[in-house]
Every structure is written in C-alpha cells, then in structure tokens.
C-alpha cells in the first residue's frame, strides 16, 4: 500500500508534486541529511500546510521549491514537478523566470524582509518586472493591492520606507507584494511566527480571503497547529527531515495515525482542554541528521518503538481515503487511535 497507489480526491494533476526529494547540507562536521525521501502534493487552488518542530526541515523544503537554498545545499535525489515540469532539471534562467511570476514567497521575519533603503513603491514596482505596462500602471496595481491587504491610506503610504511601518503592516506589505504578481503557487514560510497572536489571526484570515480571490495554491509552513487548522485544506507533518504523515486537515487533526502527530497535537496549547499548570512536551530531542540513517527516525522518542523500528525504515501506509503515515504500528496492528 504505497503512496503511489492512493489517489488524491482531485482528479486533475497536482500543481506541485514533490517526489522522493533528498537534500544534504555540507558542513564542517560532515553532511547533514536535511531532507530524506520527501514526497508531497500541492493540488491546484488548495492550501497545504507543513507542520513540525524547529529543525524538521519544513523551511528547507519551502526554500528548495523556490530554489533559494544557501550555497552549501545539495539536492541528492528526487524531483519537484511544477505544472508538470521538473524544477530541479530546469536551466537556472528558466527557473528564475518562474519566480515572481508563477511562484512567489512570503518570509518569516517581516522586519528584515524589505529593503531598508528603498521605498515600498519602488520595491513593489520592481517586482512586477514580468508584467507589461507603464510605471504608473504598475504603481496603480500596487496601490490597489496595498488597499486590499488593509494598509490604510495607501496613496500617501506607498512612498514611505519600510521602517515607517509596524511589523504587522510590513507583513501585509509582503503579502501584497507576493500576491501582486498573481502567482499560481504561494510559498509562505512561517508568515505569522514573528507576529503577536491578534495580528496572526488577522493575517491568516487575510491570506485565506486572498487565496480564494486569486485562486492560487499555498504551501504554508508553520509550527502553529491552530493556524494550519484555520487555513489549510491538507497538511503534512514533518519530523527530522521526513514527512511522517499527511492527509486532509480534518483527518489528521481528528484521527492522527503517527505517534509523532499525536504527540504534537497533545502539546498544542490551543487543544488542551483540561486546565493544567504544566504544558505537555515530547520528551527527548530531534536526532542529529549527520551520517546515514537506518530505521524509523522517530524511534528514539517513541513510546511504541520496537526492534523493527531500529532495523527497518517504515514505508507509507494508507489510512482511510486520503491519509498516509510512515509507522510500523500501522502494518502490525492497523492501529487507529480513537
């Protein structure tokens, strides 16, 4: 029962298909296997969330899709099909021409994401370099988008520099820029992590509305389960460079199959029903990704770990219609938590 057998509920080909992706970082201490055998689909016009702890490789995955990896990164295996074409096999020039046209990105820290010595106006006009039209037309489009993302009085604010805006406003500007180019896929790398809770809700709602309006897909990276539940159609759970479970948001949240997903959900403060003085945590640490890895990567922190977990890397098992997880328990017991 491999992933390949399962059919996603949209019959059309997914917009983005990541297949068996492996990625190493060369470091002075050796090669870090940051992504291992990652497969993931982003269907057209859907929002797919990627959740996991810090260091799980979720941001690395986002940057790999965009082709914005640091120099020491090295893709070792797999393919990333975007609209049917493999991004990894494209010439650099062709790949870059997709950026700011079919693909765009929102970054984690709005305070440093905008160029400090150029006005919002010049940056927003600059990014429309794929578009036709005069400077004033591009400026008009930028104004419209700023208005749409909720910047008050965009006519007078567009000439300002980034430092004139608060963090929340800067993230709105970044969203406006990313959507101004009308991408088919928006990659959002923890866009709300640097913001406080009230702002986070506003930004999530804004993204949700704009996604519906524009009809783009979003690859939404977050460690905040609440944000994922609010925004996403599908979700992939990453742990130590692997996707351990993925499926529809409803299924994953109500019926988590992988022990790690369950542990993650138990730790989410938003979901703890009983009042408690201590927040639950997952005991142990994310293992080092140096050197070769045998067996299940989560076994060192798993309550159910057995001998098989040491010897054998679990394959993907299907649970229900549209949910897969990598855990031997699913083979042995067909365990579905209730």
């Amino acid at each position: 029962m491999r992933r390949d057998d399962s059919i996603s509920h949209t019959s059309a080909r997914p917009l983005l298909e990541i297949r068996g992706l492996g990625l190493d970082f060369g470091t002075p201490r050796g090669r870090v296997h940051a992504l291992r055998n990652v497969s993931l689909d982003v269907p057209a016009a859907q929002v797919v969330g990627i959740v996991g702890e810090s260091g799980s490789g979720k941001s690395t995955l986002a940057y790999t899709v965009m082709g914005l990896l640091p120099e020491n990164a090295d893709v070792t295996a797999g393919s990333i099909l975007f609209e049917g074409k493999d991004l990894l096999k494209m010439p650099a020039q062709a790949r870059r021409s997709l950026l700011g046209d079919r693909l765009s990105m929102i970054f984690q820290d709005p305070m440093t994401a905008l160029n400090p010595v150029r006005t919002i106006e010049s940056q927003m006009i600059d990014i429309q370099h794929h578009e036709q039209g005069s400077r004033s037309e591009k400026r008009a489009r930028a104004l419209e988008m700023l208005h749409r993302v909720g910047i008050p009085d965009p006519q007078s604010r567009i000439g300002a520099y980034p430092h004139h805006f608060s963090g929340g406003m800067r993230q709105r500007v970044c969203i406006a820029m990313a959507l101004l180019v009308k991408p088919t896929l928006l990659v959002a790398d923890e866009p709300t992590t640097a913001l406080d809770a009230t702002l986070e809700v506003q930004i999530i709602r804004l993204l949700k509305d704009l996604q519906k309006e524009i009809g783009c897909s979003i690859l939404f990276v977050s460690h905040h389960l609440g944000a994922v539940a609010e925004l996403c159609d599908r979700v992939a759970v990453m742990y130590a460079g692997e996707v351990v479970e993925q499926g529809a948001v409803r299924d994953i949240f109500h019926n988590p199959a992988h022990p790690y997903t369950r542990a993650l959900l138990e730790c989410d403060p938003g979901r703890i029903k009983k009042s408690t003085r201590t927040l639950p945590t997952i005991p142990g640490e994310v293992p080092s990704l140096l050197g070769s890895k045998e067996g299940c990567i989560f076994r060192t922190r798993c309550r159910h770990a057995s001998n098989r977990c040491v010897l054998e890397n679990p394959v993907e098992y299907r649970i229900g219609v549209d949910q897969v997880a990598r855990c031997h328990l699913l083979d042995e017991e067909r365990l579905v938590s209730a």
């Binding site: 965009m66 914005l68 870059r96 950026l99 700011g100 970054f107 440093t112 010595v117 990014i127």
Partner: protein, 317 residues
C-alpha cells in the same frame, strides 16, 4: 531633528580648536625667541621685529592665543615676511592643484574599485576573486611614492609614453599630465575600497531582504546594483571622509616626484627654507580640510540611509 548635525559640527569645531591650540603651543614650546625660531638664520633684524609685533610676543600669553584664533576666524593665517604676502593667499593659490590631483585619483579608484568589489563578492572564491584578494593587499601595502618613482621610470623615462614632470597647459594636456600621478595615488585605494565593498557586499547579500528580492526572480545584477550596493557603499563613504588625510599625505610625495605645484610641494620647500609661517599655514588648512571631510562624510552617510536621514530633518516624522 537637527540635533545630529549640530552635534557633529560642535564636535568638529572642538577638534579644530584643540588642534590649533596644540599647534600654537608647539611653536612656543621651542626654546628661544619664537620669532627668531620661526624665521631661522636667514632673517634680518627688521624681519624679526616685524614678526615680533605681528605675533604680539610682548603681550600676555592669553592675548596671544586669542589674537591667533581671532586671526584664523578672519581667514588670517599669518604673514610670510620673505615674500611679503599673506600666508593664506599663498596656500589657497596652491590648494586647487592638490585638490584636483586627489579628486581625480580617488575618482578613478572608486570607479574601478566598486565594480571590482561587487564582482568579487558575486563570484566569491573564483579566480578573479582570489587573484584580486592578493593583489589588493599588495597595492594597499606598497607606498605611493615607490609606485610613483617606478611609474615615472617605466612610462616616462624608459617608454616615454607619458610626460614626467609638470602639470601641462590646458584641460586635455593637464589630464595627460595627471595620468601617472593619479595612478600612483589611486592604486592603493583601488585595493582598499574593493576589499571594503566586497566585505560589506557579502554581508548585505546574506540579508533577508536580498533573499526576498531573489524570490521575485529579480536579476542578480539588478539585485547587486539596486538592492545591495546602496547599503554596501556606506562604509566606503565613511572611509573616503577619513581618507582625505591619507590622500593629502600621498599628494605631498606625488607632487614632489612629478614636480607639480600644490600644497605638498609648498610645504616641502617651506620646510627646506625654514619658512615656518607657511608650514603652519599648510598644516592649519589641511587639518581644517580633514575635519570638514570627516564631518561631511558622516553627514552624507546618515543622509544616504533613510533610517538615519530623518534625524537630519528631511523626513516626515
């Protein structure tokens, strides 16, 4: 709003005041009759008497220093009893030659060094970068007067491609005469500025907003020129301000080697003839130039960055 500017100018004035006091005390610290010391052995008793009265040596010390400062405020740098001319006239007659020389030198150096630094940062560890890394250290280390003498030997004496000494007549001719001197002064700056630009460029290229610009597929050259360079150039602007002291020092040697007029030639001749009023006049004017340039580069630097520009009173808030 204008606080920064005012603070900077007050500091500059304090710097100049201390420097002038120091120079004043230095002349008086030499044992013997200051007028006799200043005029040296060639002076006639009449000259000594004239200078004695000008310096107000019979008056109390505090009056002397006040008169000295008062004179400076009126642009009075003293009187050269040998030529019977005001020191200020003599110095300002020569200053344009020196300023022309150092401006042309720094201009070509910046024009070559900034692209070179950008290229080295873009193609880090490439052959060009590695060769430039070693060559630039070498050009910084080698004294300008050695470069000047060697350039003179090769291009003027041996190959006879370029004129050896003088300033030429007219604009184009003058430019030809500037080639070797400007090369000798500028070559070290090429190394220095390109290293500075490379280092700050590498730092800026690692920043988040550059990654954001890349995420929109903006071309690498445009990112360098429009997004990174305006930030990466700031340390260079600071260094150029401080660097005028360096430029003036090289200009002294280069003017002597290429027999050009200018304040370098002026002060060397003045030292040789023990013409102290001229020596002090040159020191005062160049000190003022240096403080002014340093202050100006700080202010320009603050102005180039919109985050600090508003403190200068141009912003909306």
């Amino acid at each position: 709003m204008w606080l920064y500017l005012v603070k900077r100018i007050i500091l500059a004035i304090a710097n100049i005041a201390i420097a002038v006091t120091f120079l004043f005390l230095m002349i008086r610290a030499v044992p013997g009759d200051p007028a006799a010391v200043l005029l040296g052995t060639r002076a006639t008793p009449e000259m000594k008497a004239q200078l004695h009265e000008q310096m107000g040596l019979d008056k109390p010390f505090i009056v002397q220093i006040a008169t000295f400062f008062g004179g400076l405020l009126h642009g009075d740098l003293g009187f050269d009893v040998f030529s019977q001319r005001a020191v200020a006239d003599i110095v300002f007659e020569q200053l344009p030659y020196t300023l022309e020389l150092i401006l042309v030198s720094i201009l070509w150096a910046v024009l070559v060094a900034v692209p070179l630094g950008c290229y080295s940062a873009m193609r880090r560890n490439s052959l060009v970068d590695q060769v430039a890394g070693v060559v630039t250290v070498a050009t910084i280390a080698i004294p300008s007067f050695v470069v000047a003498v060697y350039a003179l030997l090769i291009f003027a004496v041996t190959l006879r491609w370029l004129p050896a000494i003088g300033v030429g007549i007219g604009f184009w001719d003058g430019l030809i005469y500037l080639i070797l001197p400007a090369f000798a002064i500028g070559i070290g700056w090429v190394g220095y500025i390109s290293r500075l630009v490379r280092a700050s460029m590498l730092e800026i290229l690692g920043e988040n907003h550059i990654r954001m610009a890349r995420s929109f597929g903006i071309s690498e050259w445009r990112i360098i020129a429009r997004y990174a360079l305006p930030l990466a150039i700031l340390p260079t602007v600071t260094i150029l301000g401080v660097g005028i002291a360096w430029l003036l020092s090289s200009a002294v040697f280069i003017e002597v080697v290429f027999a050009r007029p200018g304040i370098g030639t002026l002060i060397v001749n003045a030292v040789n003839t023990r013409n102290y009023p001229i020596v002090m006049g040159v020191v005062l004017v160049t000190t003022f130039l240096i403080v002014a340039a340093t202050t100006l580069s700080d202010v320009v630097n603050a102005f180039l960055d919109p985050r600090t520009r508003e403190k200068l009173g141009h912003g909306k808030r």
